[in-house]
């Protein structure tokens, strides 16, 4: 992928670590082109969620440049930050619905906070968003009465309430049954195209995600190790991609946790 | 819990809180008495005020007619100067006397006024001329012991043999 102006998010040589001695992200560079659905995949702990949070400007890079919607996240003041976030929608891993409000109030929240629209108009918009995710009938339920899949769909409706330009998905498929899986993945695609938005999905669900995304980046140990279209990835000969995509237990990511040899532990080598 | 029920309960709560405050101020405290009444100030000098405190009552014939507002030490006459606010409706003659008394045996001290016979009344800022200080327990005891010792001496007996009468 080449650097060009039609990128909604551009990440150039970014380094980051909560503890400067142990960087979580090492020299990461990637582009998210406008209008596409991009996947970022890797093992747990490879830094992909941290990267997503940095795109949402929750943290700033210790080195390198991170531009979101044209703005360098390090130069954003508080007002600039909030202005940028109004154009984003983020779906958290378990939905993160506000438990003290109904489904309706949850979806209405961004509308009520950021616009002065009259209640009648808010109502129409909320019902529209809920209809898009198929939960219009559940508007009066409380989050505790929803199943995991339904909660995530409501959170999705809330995330698209203000018609964002950029959608961020943090592990949207974790812990879902196959039907909800299919529902959410189809929604990600259809909403992206309907809104004319750009989407970034951070996940480690390979098969389902490859069917949804236009492009995919693979990360391991805080670095981008591979990238390509879903078709090129499937038949890739790169060892990491091969192991990851086909779910092989051993390969570049070792099966055994590093330590002394088994023989030494059983005290056999000593004799 | 919809909005209006919530507001109702909060309203009741706040109203009850203020009601309790009012109860404390009026029924329990002394807000009703002497805070807005008209008063005039009168001074009195005492050799010893004992335990008299600011806000102690001024009573005459047992009725509260005012409050002590200030207690100061006069460095020239070496006496205590007590300032009191008396209710405007109570007029006292110029030769009224002031005594520091104790309510009950161990109670708090107050100023008792006894009206004199002067046809002219006290004005705002006047000083009472006749005063009697508080009774100090230690002085009483030492006086008693001194009297007892003197008695023992005139009878020709030594103080140690007082027990044998």
């Amino acid at each position: 992928m080449t650097l060009n102006d039609s990128s909604l998010v551009s990440i150039e040589n970014v380094w980051f670590g909560y503890d400067p001695a142990r960087p979580v992200l090492r020299d990461v560079s990637l582009e998210i082109p406008r209008g596409k659905v991009v996947g970022i995949m890797g093992q747990s702990g490879c830094g992909k969620t941290t990267l997503l949070r940095m795109i949402g400007a929750a943290m700033t890079p210790s080195q390198g440049l991170l531009r979101v919607l044209g703005a360098d996240t390090r130069t954003l003041g508080r007002d600039g930050l909030y202005a940028m976030r109004r154009k984003l929608g983020m779906l958290f891993q378990f939905g993160a619905l506000f438990t003290d409000m109904t489904v309706y109030d949850n979806v209405a929240f961004p509308l009520r906070e950021h616009t002065d629209l009259p209640e009648a108009l808010v109502r129409d918009l909320v019902l529209l968003k809920l209809e898009a995710v198929g939960l219009r009938g559940a508007a009066q339920l409380m989050p505790s009465e929803l199943s995991g899949g339904m909660a995530r769909r409501v959170a999705l409706a809330r995330a698209i309430a203000l018609d964002p330009q950029l959608m961020l998905y943090d592990e949207p498929f974790t812990g879902l049954d196959p039907i909800s899986f299919g529902v959410i993945s189809r929604l990600v695609r259809s909403l992206n195209d309907a809104l004319g938005a750009t989407s970034i999905i951070v996940t480690h669900d390979v098969q389902e995600t490859l069917g949804v995304v236009d492009y995919v980046y693979f990360m391991a140990d805080g670095q981008v190790v591979s990238q390509g279209t879903p078709q090129s990835v499937d038949g890739s000969l790169e060892p990491f991609v091969d192991q990851f995509v086909h779910g092989k237990p051993d390969g570049p990511v070792p099966f055994h946790y590093p330590g002394s040899s088994f023989a030494a532990d059983l005290a056999l080598a000593a004799d | 819990m919809n909005r209006t029920t919530l507001d109702l309960w909060v309203g009741i709560f706040v109203a009850a809180g203020f009601g309790a405050l009012l109860f404390l101020a009026l029924k329990v405290g002394n807000l009703a008495a002497f805070s807005t009444a008209q008063t005039y100030a009168v001074h009195a000098k005492f050799a010893n005020i004992g335990g008299l405190k600011v806000r102690a009552p001024i009573k005459s014939a047992g009725v509260v007619v005012g409050r002590v507002t200030d207690v100061r030490f006069d460095n020239e006459s070496f006496e205590a100067v007590v300032t009191m606010n008396l209710g405007a409706e109570y007029k006292f003659p110029r030769d009224t006397s002031a005594k520091i008394l104790t309510s009950g045996l161990l109670g708090e001290q107050y100023v008792g006024l006894e009206a004199g016979g002067d046809p002219k009344n006290l004005n705002d800022g006047d000083t009472l001329r006749l005063t009697q200080s508080a009774v100090v327990l230690e002085n009483l005891i030492s006086q008693f012991l001194y009297n007892k010792a003197a008695e023992g001496g005139t009878d020709g007996k030594t103080p140690g043999k007082e027990g044998k009468q």
């Binding site: 891993q93 | 507001d7 909060v10 329990v28």
Partner: protein
């Protein structure tokens, strides 16, 4: 080596003290930010009213019942002690002054800390653990202004009201036991009380105390909740810390305030 062990102990002690001071500084900055961004809590007052309901109204039962019992015990104990000195008619004074000056603000404060304070900490801590706070931030809504500030001001407003209700209820309890049950003269009960309790010195100072306690408890509760680690143990630890720290703070502040207020006397 004993020397090394001793030095280790001192290092740990120093580290613990430094950590606490650092945390206090952090909590102070948090409070400052909170107060600065309380505009939303005041402009959209319905948010604060909701919190007054959860902190104040829902604490009413425990406050009123406890107040009644404390007052009744004061009446009983007070009578048995005063009667020995023939001053049983001063029961009203004893009950009223004890409650208005000390027991009202302090006991109500302790009860408030354990009921409402822990609830606030748990609520905010859980919101943080379930990423609701992060979600709000991502939606460009300041969670401190929207979630934390209303709970803080709700606590500050509720506390003095609860303390006053506690005192009033306690005096009624003392009246029930002293006058109705034991038979102290009703007139003497109220008249001596009215003579001894001064609105400015006693009642007002009690109200000031309860404001200070409310401020302290609310601050501790919201800070511990916001700072809690986003795990189950984290939230439960934060809730316990709220109750313990609030209780200690109330007792320490009570001493300081009492020394300032009630022993000022004639200046010397």
């Amino acid at each position: 080596m004993a020397g090394a062990a001793l030095r280790g102990l001192f290092e740990r002690l120093g580290a613990a003290v430094t950590a606490r001071i650092w945390r206090l500084g952090f909590a102070s900055r948090f409070l400052f930010y909170l107060v600065l961004h309380s505009g939303t809590a005041l402009r959209r007052f319905s948010l604060t009213i909701r919190e007054i309901y959860f902190a104040g109204v829902l604490s009413l039962v425990i406050i009123l019942v406890s107040g009644l019992f404390v007052g009744m015990v004061l009446g009983l104990q007070g009578y048995h002690t005063l009667q020995r000195y023939g001053s049983s008619e001063a029961l009203g004074v004893l009950v009223a002054l004890s409650l208005v000056r000390e027991l009202g603000p302090v006991v109500a404060g302790l009860l408030f800390a354990s009921r409402a304070g822990s609830a606030i900490t748990a609520e905010i801590g859980l919101m943080k653990a379930t990423e609701q706070i992060a979600a709000m931030e991502m939606m460009a809504v300041d969670p401190i202004a929207r979630v934390v500030a209303p709970r803080f001001w709700g606590g500050v407003i509720s506390m003095p009201l609860l303390a006053t209700l506690f005192s009033a209820m306690g005096i009624y309890g003392g009246y029930l036991v002293g006058v109705k049950l034991i038979g102290v003269d009703e007139g003497a009960f109220w008249s001596q009380m009215q003579a001894a309790v001064d609105v400015r010195e006693d009642v007002l100072n009690g109200v000031i105390k309860s404001f200070v306690f409310g401020f302290a408890v609310s601050w501790i509760a919201v800070f511990e909740g916001y700072d809690a680690p986003p795990t189950a143990e984290g939230v439960s630890g934060a809730t316990t810390r709220t109750v313990v720290t609030s209780s200690l703070a109330i007792l320490a502040l009570d001493f300081i305030l009492t020394a300032l207020m009630f022993t000022g006397g004639n200046g010397l």
